[in-house]
Symmetry: none
Subunit: 400 residues, 2 copies
């Protein structure tokens, strides 16, 4: 029996509240002997750790570095090796593009076409401003069928997302990308018979855009890859009978939360707004996903001091979470982003869970090494949801 | 998505080197309060443990005692519950018998046939010398077809390996063994239609050998079981894009390494030769499997003092490994062989991994009990390869 089936059998609705605070990319490695978590002054997280059961989690499995998609799916209880998210969808979520059920999206590059060859797959990394201008130029000039609407959404530098909205679209398309410079353009090919018409549509679209770009200096064509449609994922409500809400400012995390059926609450950028929003909507939901980005951003920049500061910035808000008296409060990260590596990594995440039924262990601090001594041991993030449901009384006995 | 698919997607080739030192059967139980690892003086392994991240591994899963085959497959990243090695193949590997792609091998017993009954399935445990004489007597007297060559390879006491080399052989054969004394001989039966001809060949061969043995005192027939062909296992290079080499003196481990596509380097029996061979070939490969047998042999003998000595014998060579500056250095065992049990066991293996991206934990010594406090926690040996690949920068991010 798989977890989805088990969850639907065993979960029950009650009034207990679960708050999951994700400090993105929190886990790290030591610099001069201490990690940012060990270095930071965190009296409130320390107190919380003392009142909690702790452990270390692996988002996918040991050694695997997850992207934000797989890392969050796992935390929400969805096996990331089973629910594979297309690159186009992830890019669209990251840009905050609205994607509906039947839409087809893809990642795009502006590229330089010269004498029938793609001579620069990134169009000399044109500026984000030029990119926005090009999208504005293309969007109104695409022929609109009654049943098809195509839109470009600018990203950074040469990157954009294209969304095809229409009927009978298929995601089973090969990349329209020669993958290397100085090769002729490659049309998309249908990977299944039912994708033939969509492939023709996409190839026509590329031709149209190339014509519109004729007078440009560098961005004279486009390449498309990672064609994908909205994935079919059972909602958290269907699986767990909870009513979940997401409090996240960045489009990527709002998008991921929407994928699993969370309500997306409006929240401003400042850190305090996460907590103000939670307090405002606390009565309406029984599961809250709170996302804090600054820890990850500091890790990606390799800025150890900024990471310490980001941790110290969130710490004073912890008492506001505790004051709400949620039956279950979890603080953890989706993946580690060590400053040393300046990127996501495979290192495990510190994890703490506070609930009246939690076994208090000897962990006195939310840190990588303290949590390794916790009562929960080392486990996959996939078990976070069952633990939260159990401690909030939302999981019945299995078998008699 | 399974690990094999994921590995092929995520691995990338780089120049980083991985050294995996397997101290066979290292894990043990205490005698007078201390295990051999705790008793031994190991200043170099201690220093290494301090610089490493540590943990405990289960080769298959808790409680399962693995043979050398499953234990090593797991360490090489192959699920031993999926890649089942036939007994014939393992026995052949252990004797150093060359097995090619289409060969069929089986384990054999000399046995006593009297009045149409197998009265002793082990022929009174004839000596290894008699065994060798019998094989020498049989081998030149077997009829050779142009497309079939059969060879016997003597093992210890009454045991041997038979290799059928020819065309169209099938491994789907039942054991030609009554399993109990005082039963009539049992011919092999084809378990699939395509094995019919092979079954006839094997049964003819048993008859011929029985005729040749007519004048012997005890060894008057043979029993065959565990028919198996060379298994189809994707190579480590295919899965991980590494170029692996094995430095192992014993045939079994050389054979296992060959099964997963390692180059087998020549190495003499003395312990120091492991390291001399590594140094000599260090530039040519990016993954080295080093095998040290003495720890297991002492455990099998139930000789606690010999096990301590075997550990102390390897310790001074550790600095030579460190001096090569491999990006990843792992020291562990394939399985435990407690002196108390005089056999392989299900107890977990101490594991240490040294790399610049490894979280140094509080483990100060490579021992069963210290490693249980390590940052890696307790995990399956199957995760050793993903960890080594991750720490050597050979694994890309999964998803976006």
């Amino acid at each position: 029996m798989d977890w989805e089936t088990l969850a639907q059998d065993l979960t029950l609705k009650n009034d207990a509240k679960i708050v999951l605070l994700v400090l993105d990319g929190l886990g790290d490695l030591p610099e001069n002997g201490l990690t940012p978590l060990e270095k930071a002054s965190t009296p409130n997280l320390d107190r919380l750790a003392k009142e909690s059961v702790c452990g270390l989690t692996d988002p996918v499995s040991m050694g695997i570095t997850p992207g934000s998609g797989p890392a969050h799916l796992s935390l929400f209880g969805y096996d990331p090796l089973e629910y594979i998210l297309g690159r186009g969808i992830l890019e669209a979520l990251g840009l905050g593009v609205e994607v509906k059920d039947k839409d087809l999206v893809a990642r795009g590059n502006f590229a330089t076409l010269k004498d029938g060859q793609v001579v620069d797959r990134r169009a000399g990394r044109i500026s984000t401003e030029i990119n926005a201008r090009l999208c504005d130029k293309i969007n109104p000039n695409l022929p609109k069928g009654s049943s098809l609407k195509i839109s470009l959404f600018p990203g950074k530098e040469h990157r954009f997302v294209v969304r095809f909205r229409g009927k009978g679209l298929s995601q089973h398309l090969s990349d329209a990308d020669p993958q290397k410079d100085n090769k002729p353009p490659v049309p998309t090919r249908p990977l299944r018979p039912e994708a033939k018409e969509t492939a023709n549509l996409v190839n026509e679209f590329i031709e149209q855009v190339t014509k519109l770009l004729k007078e440009e200096a560098k961005a004279t064509t486009i390449l498309l890859r990672g064609f994908s449609q909205y994935p079919s994922i059972p909602s958290m409500n269907t699986l767990y009978k909870i009513t979940p809400a997401a409090i996240a400012h960045y489009p990527m995390y709002r998008g991921l939360a929407k994928l699993v059926g969370m309500d997306i609450l409006d929240v401003k950028a400042e850190t305090k707004e996460i907590f103000t929003t939670l307090e405002k909507h606390y009565a309406q939901y029984d599961f809250f996903f709170l996302h804090y980005k600054k820890t990850d951003a500091a890790g990606e920049d390799g800025n150890f001091r900024a990471k310490v500061k980001a941790i110290e910035e969130i710490d004073p808000f912890i008492p506001r979470l505790v004051a709400l008296k949620p039956e279950v409060l979890v603080v953890t990260s989706d993946h580690s982003t060590p400053c040393q590596l300046k990127s996501h990594s495979w290192h495990p995440n510190p994890f703490l869970l506070r609930a009246s039924s939690a076994m208090k262990d000897k962990v006195n601090r939310l840190s990588e090494r303290e949590c390794s001594q916790g009562h929960l041991g080392r486990f996959t993030s996939l078990r976070a949801i069952p633990l939260m449901l159990a401690h909030s009384g939302k999981l019945k006995k299995f078998g008699a």
